[in-house]
């Protein structure tokens, strides 16, 4: 009998070796006598380098090389602008090693190669640099204002890019509105903060002219392309491998970090392998941040709370450079209306430079910022109209019969217009309201207030554009010596269980167990085409490609088995690793046997393959050994290219208690309803959602990059940048909904970012609800006890 693996809580193939400590993360990669790199990074946010002297460092025992921008030849120039945009007026990307001016604290200035990291750091200490401080601007509003210090010369108002998008008739909507609600929302800076920092290692085989690079990246194919281009090497001579990666969260999809160019180049130049492992302090100063946006939103609405128009003007802080383009801002702009109809939209984003670490996507990638803005605005509107905030949401949710729902004029991260394809938004809202106990909450809250306790209920709806193109591919192959199934795809894994979920897809098609399937991701030599893992796309895009390839293998297996068993293909079934006549156990041939038979051989190198040689019965037929159009082997390669993104959705709600004496907040209960279409593995999906929620809690109440006005990052440490631990994250009740997407054969949507999107919005909503007696308005995250204290004090000063 064939077992159905898709949809099951299958335990992971990858766990045993990771639990035993046998993972191979970047620093575990075995290299032959490597040099170790360390970087001199700018201590200043903005300064001219007037003198740099590396002689003492070069002379230090154990040091092989010390390089500045003058020593790196073809690498000395701005890195590529990864994702260009027609409205990008003033793109600026950084050089691998700064020339003349540094623009953020942490920017790389020089690199040391030495016998070990300890010695390399000693040498970095010996590099002498004189700086002439230049004016610094850290606050994005100040940076965008007239007269602000210039982060880069010749960039007016420090503005890299302005994009204006609209649909419907916003002017009319606002002119005819019964009420216009205005709100301003601020999201402060955070970062992905994976547990494994970044790292790059490279080894150059001069004789073969081959470069091998290990990079803790989400995008080895992109890295390979860049290295080939920069180093003048052909693609088939450069192999980039993402080994086990200890978390990515978007931080590791950004290219080209300076180290990703310098380390491979160094290996070629010096002729010895080179390794660089980022330390945690460096990570704070040299791996990208995200989240800072300031939204000024207006909602035009009828007296009944129907939102007819939305205007949003927002500033997006891109940091000192804009290597990843405006992806984060673009996604925020496209998601600002959330799951709501709002037929007329008018959104302008402004990407602005500041003297801070550059910005590129972090789980959510603009969606958390958009969600916070629209959700709090909807609640503000409801309050102004004297309507129930859940009812106002309900009245505006896109209904099931309105799909596909287009927002023409809004171009999503895939270059396509926004089309919400499917979902059951109202049903999800109902499910959450029921599960969190909304109906009885007013009474619960009143009773608590009578006891002097301040509890509040917060809720946020979200949508998540997922599974964007351009494409991914996969090869599925039955190995003829082991009978195991090998799967290879070009994108990568940072804990999302691809070795299991992809195996489940294949297992169903080929009638094997997921533990019989070996999945390789992230090695350009194993599969050389594709894009990367980001934006909740891997399951959708690679998953569908894998499904197609597995289906093709299945069809070939049946075709071949029909020949081998002299049976009609219609009478055959695939199960238990074999193709057999339906209902028979003996009239069968294993996938391994078929794999052998599908590769016509002259030489029998073991007993099994004798069956495939020219004189063996399997090949007794009239035609040529390898028929026209057929390929040898039981394998297939297939591709999937989505026409458009598919949109997941959900609603989270929580009840919190604010202790107004200490201003601390704790969760009392948390419910999450999410819909990512069909789930390959609910256990894995839960892990993704829960992990996202924890990061969302961080962004709501704990995590904040504390930049001083001088551009110095005050808290480049996990001691003072507060990532939530098990103690700070509440237990979560998860409800799965599955509204399959019509857009891909598997009916799946992405879920990687879902958990992180609504949490800051719901936390703000909950705290505001708890502190309603004080008249507190929450418009900024993260909150903290001292901020809550200030909010209460401010609200008390203003009479209700």
């Amino acid at each position: 009998m064939s077992t159905q693996s898709f949809g099951e809580r299958v335990l992971r193939n990858e766990d045993a070796r990771l639990l035993r400590g046998e993972g191979c993360f970047l620093d575990d990669v075995a290299l032959d006598d490597p040099l170790h790199a360390a970087f001199l990074r700018s201590p200043h946010a903005h300064a001219r380098i007037t003198r740099i002297d590396v002689e003492a460092a070069r002379a230090h025992p154990g040091v092989t090389a010390v390089w500045t921008c003058d020593d790196i030849g073809p690498l000395d120039g701005p890195a590529p602008l990864l994702i260009p945009h027609p409205d990008m007026r003033h793109p600026r990307t950084q050089r691998p090693l700064a020339r003349d001016v540094v623009h953020y604290m942490g920017q790389t200035i020089a690199v040391v190669l030495a016998e070990d990291r300890y010695v390399a750091e000693d040498a970095v200490d010996l590099i002498e640099v004189d700086f002439e401080p230049l004016p610094v601007v850290v606050d994005v509003e100040r940076a965008a204002a007239e007269g602000a210090p210039a982060v880069h010369p010749d960039v007016p108002a420090n503005t890299a890019c302005v994009v204006h998008q609209s649909c419907g008739d916003p002017d009319r909507a606002f002119a005819e509105a019964d009420v216009v609600f205005r709100g301003r929302y601020v999201i402060e800076r955070s970062a992905g903060m994976p547990m494994e920092t970044r790292g790059v290692a490279a080894s150059w085989d001069a004789r073969a002219g081959e470069l091998t690079v290990w990079d803790s990246t989400q995008a080895p194919l992109g890295i390979r392309g860049g290295l080939c281009s920069l180093l003048g090497l052909p693609e088939n001579k450069v192999r980039v491998i993402a080994p086990d990666v200890g978390g990515g969260f978007g931080t590791k999809v950004m290219m080209f970090y300076p180290e990703e160019l310098l380390v491979p180049w160094a290996a070629v130049r010096v002729g010895r392998p080179v390794k660089w492992i980022e330390d945690r302090r460096e990570h704070f100063l040299g791996s990208n941040h995200e989240r800072v946006q300031i939204h000024e939103i207006e909602l035009a609405a009828t007296r009944d709370g129907i939102v007819t128009g939305l205007r949003d003007r927002f500033l997006h802080d891109t940091g000192a450079y804009i290597p990843y383009g405006i992806a984060v801002a673009q996604v925020a702009a496209c998601q600002i209306a959330g799951p709501y109809r709002i037929p007329s939209l008018d959104v302008e984003l402004r990407a602005v430079y500041t003297n801070t670490v550059p910005v590129s996507p972090y789980r959510g990638c603009g969606r958390p910022q958009a969600c916070l803005t629209i959700e709090l605005a909807m609640e503000g509107l409801a309050e102004e109209l004297g309507l129930d905030r859940m009812e106002v949401r309900r009245r505006n949710l896109i209904a099931e019969d309105e799909f596909p729902y287009r927002r023409d004029g809004f171009i999503f991260a895939d270059g396509k217009p926004v089309v919400l394809d499917s979902g059951s938004y109202e049903a999800a809202l109902d499910e959450v309201l029921d599960a969190i106990g909304y109906a009885g909450f007013a009474a619960e809250q009143e009773a608590a207030r009578a006891e002097g306790r301040h509890i509040g209920l917060g809720l946020a709806c979200y949508v998540e554009g997922t599974g964007l193109g351009p494409y991914e591919g996969a090869r599925v192959q039955v190995d003829s010596t082991s009978g195991r199934v090998h799967v290879a795809t070009g994108l990568t894994t940072q804990g999302q269980a691809h070795a299991t979920t992809f195996a489940q897809i294949v297992a169903d098609r080929l009638g094997v167990d997921p533990s019989d399937v070996d999945v390789v991701t992230g090695d350009t030599a194993a599969f050389g085409y594709g894009v990367a893992t980001f934006a909740s796309r891997a399951a959708v895009v690679s998953g569908n490609a894998i499904d197609r390839a597995a289906t093709a293998v299945r069809e070939k297996a049946i075709r071949m088995a029909a020949n081998m068993l002299e049976a009609d293909p219609e009478d055959l079934e695939v199960a238990d690793g074999a193709v057999r006549v339906k209902g028979s156990r003996s009239h069968a041939v294993t996938l391994k046997q078929i794999a052998i038979a599908s590769n016509p051989l002259r030489y029998a190198f073991d007993a099994d393959v004798q069956a495939a040689t020219q004189f063996a019965p399997a090949h007794q037929h009239e035609e040529v050994p390898l028929p026209e159009g057929e390929r040898p082997g039981l394998e297939a390669t297939a591709w999937y290219s989505p026409a458009t993104s598919t949109w997941a959705s959900g609603v989270h709600a929580a009840v919190v208690e604010v202790d107004v004496e200490t201003c601390d907040v704790r969760f009392l209960r948390y419910v999450c309803v999410h819909d990512c279409g069909r789930m390959i593995n609910p256990l894995v999906v839960e892990g993704q959602v829960l992990g996202g929620i924890a990061q969302g809690v961080g962004g709501a109440f704990y995590e904040r990059m504390a930049y001083g006005e001088d551009g110095v990052l005050a808290n480049p440490s996990l001691r003072s940048f507060l990532v939530p631990t098990a103690n700070e994250v509440p237990p979560v009740e998860i409800h799965h909904r599955e509204t399959p997407t019509p857009l891909n054969p598997l009916g799946i949507k992405g879920v990687g970012e879902a958990g992180a999107i609504p949490v800051p919005a719901l936390f703000a909503s909950a705290v505001q609800d708890a502190l309603r007696p004080f008249g507190v308005r929450v418009t900024q995250v993260p909150l903290s006890p001292t901020r809550i204290h200030a909010l209460i004090a401010e609200a008390e000063e203003v009479p209700a």
Binding site: L18, R280, A497, L718
Partner: protein, 168 residues
């Protein structure tokens, strides 16, 4: 002691080892690179994330906050030492797998050490509450799982060890 170099003799995962190393060599680097025990991971080198947690003389400790020299004469157990020799998983490891308590796996060895200590220090507890477990694990940071499944794994391990000891 000559400038820079020390001889460190200790027991690691039950085996006696002796190495010469630098006085400033961190225990985390010593275990990983001098002894080739790569299962202990380095996440921060300031003692906060817990990824490098090992057992020193039976107690959890951050390997990044010890000099190798300080481990002279000590009995150190790493994740490799918490793993059975026969290729199977320990009961605790099996619970982690069942509960999906790991995603990328980078923080996992540190969590195993912390969970191991919790279970060892309270041998008679049949279960820990959700809140107790979270407090006990609050010294280890995970960015992937959101913790719920790790908490479940540890509680499962506590319950299961008693089920096995006294089958119904």
């Amino acid at each position: 002691m000559s400038d820079g170099h020390v001889t460190v003799a200790l027991t690691v995962n039950g085996r006696r080892v002796e190495r010469e190393t630098s006085g400033r060599r961190l225990l985390s680097d010593f275990l990983r690179h001098d002894l080739g025990l790569k299962g202990t991971h380095v996440g921060c080198e300031h003692g906060v994330c817990g990824a490098c947690t090992v057992l020193v003389d039976g107690r959890s400790a951050r390997a990044c906050l010890m000099l190798a020299a300080q481990a002279h004469g000590a009995d150190v157990v790493t994740v490799e030492g918490l793993t059975p020799d026969d290729g199977t998983l320990s009961p605790l490891q099996a619970c982690f797998r069942e509960a999906h308590a790991l995603q990328c796996g980078f923080c996992t060895p540190g969590f195993l050490a912390a969970a191991h200590e919790l279970l060892e220090e309270h041998p008679d507890r049949v279960d820990f509450t959700d809140a107790e477990t979270r407090a006990a694990l609050s010294g280890n940071v995970c960015r992937c799982t959101g913790y719920a499944q790790i908490v479940e794994a540890v509680r499962l391990a506590a319950r299961r060890r008693h089920e096995e000891a006294s089958p119904a």
